[in-house]
């Protein structure tokens, strides 16, 4: 008499059968599971398990293709093999399919090969950042009119926070350009250290390159430094007498982009 598996044993062998790469030989099939799957023509037990394996693969590959469309384009025919290898190495650990691609960029970075564009990890990071900010927490951004009412004497003390739906990426490639290029595989791209900010304004997601001055300024905001300190820091990248004007211009641009939240009520 065949011992019937308990629920856990059954589910573990079932999951292995659908999530692991397809067996190359008959002998490699999950025999413990095959014994308890009812056969009914025209499908035998193996074919019935294969339906679930096919759905598992197709669904998760669709998710990765939807979440990383430009990375998939850049990888071309290689995408399927890379995505399958990723799913094999990183089964989903979250109830929402939304998080399936969470480690895809890191996987690409750790498995770079000579025949694969080395810009793909950065491109995947950008695509993932865009997904993250798309449904990050809402915040009421500082409006440019809020700043107009601040007396000149109080500007130096102003502090800001960044909205939750904001990411700063340090990349080795000009990913914001690669992302926006309709036919990115038809151009030769040069590696270049590029800082990109990604944010959501309303329901739309945006991205822009950040220069050295803006990066310093953003780091001050993240550190909750007042505007006076921000001016001091960026004075290392612009003439000192222009630091205040540059800082003011940055703050106005950030307010227009909707990425600032007042750390304290402007008065």
């Amino acid at each position: 008499m065949i011992a019937m598996p308990c629920l856990r044993d059954l589910q573990e062998s079932f999951f292995d059968a659908i999530a692991q790469p397809p067996p190359e030989t008959e002998a490699a099939a999950p025999s413990a599971l095959l014994r308890v799957v009812r056969e009914r023509p025209p499908l035998d037990a193996r074919a019935r398990i294969a339906i679930y394996r096919g759905m598992y693969r197709a669904r998760l590959l669709d998710v990765l293709r939807d979440d990383f469309p430009r990375t998939a384009t850049m990888l071309g025919d290689d995408f399927l093999a890379v995505a399958e290898a990723y799913l094999d190495s990183s089964p989903s650990r979250h109830p929402s399919v939304r998080w399936v691609g969470r480690a895809f960029a890191e996987f690409l970075a750790s498995s770079l090969s000579d025949d694969r564009p080395s810009l793909t990890p950065d491109l995947a990071r950008l695509e993932w950042a865009r997904l993250e900010v798309f449904d990050d927490a809402d915040a009421t951004p500082l409006h440019i009119d809020d700043l107009r009412h601040v007396p000149p004497g109080r500007w130096a003390d102003l502090r800001f926070h960044l909205i939750p739906a904001f990411r700063l990426l340090e990349c080795h490639w000009p990913v914001q350009k690669i992302w926006a290029e309709p036919h990115p595989t038809q151009r030769q791209w040069k590696s270049r250290t590029t800082i990109v900010r990604v944010w959501r304004q309303g329901f739309a997601v945006y991205q822009a390159r950040v220069d050295a001055t803006e990066l310093l300024a953003l780091e001050c905001v993240k550190a909750n430094e007042p505007l006076a300190v921000l001016c001091e820091r960026i004075a290392s990248t612009v003439p000192e007498e222009r630091a205040a004007a540059v800082a003011g211009a940055l703050v106005l641009r950030w307010a227009e982009d909707g990425i600032l939240v007042a750390a304290e009520e402007p008065r």
Partner: protein, 286 residues
């Protein structure tokens, strides 16, 4: 005790394609059902659209990852997030599937079949009771389409579904298309399936399309409801009376008008069979 839910009419599943219509108020339906997990997020457009939909009509939260049949512990974080979402949206009810989808901390993102055994009944019923306790409300559990069954099952699926619902004291979300698909794939009588369910626990009906793969039917939700499923829906209405009905369409989603046309067809069948007048549409059954 039963678990009938308020009658909401004939609704449609809310999918991304129709967000603009919800946002500008042109997409109207008796009620909407949404996939819970898609809205268990911090903010942004999906939640804003969901709140707009909720302002228009009743909303039901339909989950796909509660994994009620899993041998793993229930996911506390998931239940907390679901409860938070429910507090925000105030859904008419919450539902998920009579299946498992995770084991060993890994999620398959699929609705995987259970063996129809006493062990599984006891396990799932206990977990449904815990979930209902945590959420502070009754839930509905849905029968899934399946492509395999187990040799150690000791009862038919309908008996398993009825027994879990009774022991857990929860409602049933009867997916008529899933009954049809599974009946075809496993060779049982779909009409008998329906006839054996406890009428006082049927809280909602799902209707959807499927695809024929020659050797089996696949529950793809990518096509109109087929004639055979409409026929089975008629049987369900005659057995269970007026039940909130929803059109599910997840892939190759059509224009909103086409979805509504399917919902209107369900309404017309209900009126024809049950002679429900327009004025009674939103009445709540005793």
């Amino acid at each position: 005790m039963g678990c009938r839910m308020p009658f909401l009419g004939h609704g449609v599943g809310l999918r991304t394609k129709h967000y603009p219509g919800i946002w500008d108020g042109t997409a109207r339906a008796d009620w909407f059902e949404v996939i819970s997990e898609n809205f268990m997020i911090p903010g942004g457009r999906p939640l804003a659209v969901l709140e707009r939909a909720r302002a228009i009509a009743p909303v039901v939260l339909h989950g796909v990852s509660m994994s009620l049949g899993s041998a793993d512990p229930l996911n506390d974080d998931y239940l907390l997030e679901l409860k938070t979402l429910a507090a925000r949206i105030e859904p008419a009810w919450i539902s998920d599937h009579l299946c498992w989808g995770s084991i060993g901390g890994h999620y398959a993102h699929d609705l995987l079949p259970l063996p129809f055994t006493e062990e599984a009944i006891a396990h799932v019923a206990e977990r449904v009771r815990i979930v209902q306790d945590r959420l502070g409300r009754k839930i509905l559990i849905e029968n899934v389409s399946s492509y395999l069954t187990f040799t150690h099952s000791t009862m038919p699926e309908w008996q398993f579904l009825a027994e879990v619902a009774t022991r857990a004291d929860c409602g049933i979300l009867l997916d008529v298309n899933n009954v049809y698909v599974s009946a075809h794939n496993h060779g049982f009588d779909a009409g008998m399936y329906l006839a054996e369910l406890p009428p006082d626990r049927i809280g909602q009906i799902h209707l959807a399309g499927h695809s024929d793969h020659g050797t089996h039917l696949l529950d793809t939700h990518d096509a109109p409801v087929c004639a055979a499923v409409w026929k089975l829906y008629r049987t369900a209405l005659l057995l269970f009376g007026r039940v909130s009905t929803l059109i599910e369409w997840d892939d190759q989603v059509p224009e909103f008008d086409e979805l509504i046309a399917e919902a209107e067809r369900a309404r017309a069948i209900e009126r024809e069979l049950l002679e429900v007048s327009l004025d009674d549409r939103h009445a709540v059954p005793a």
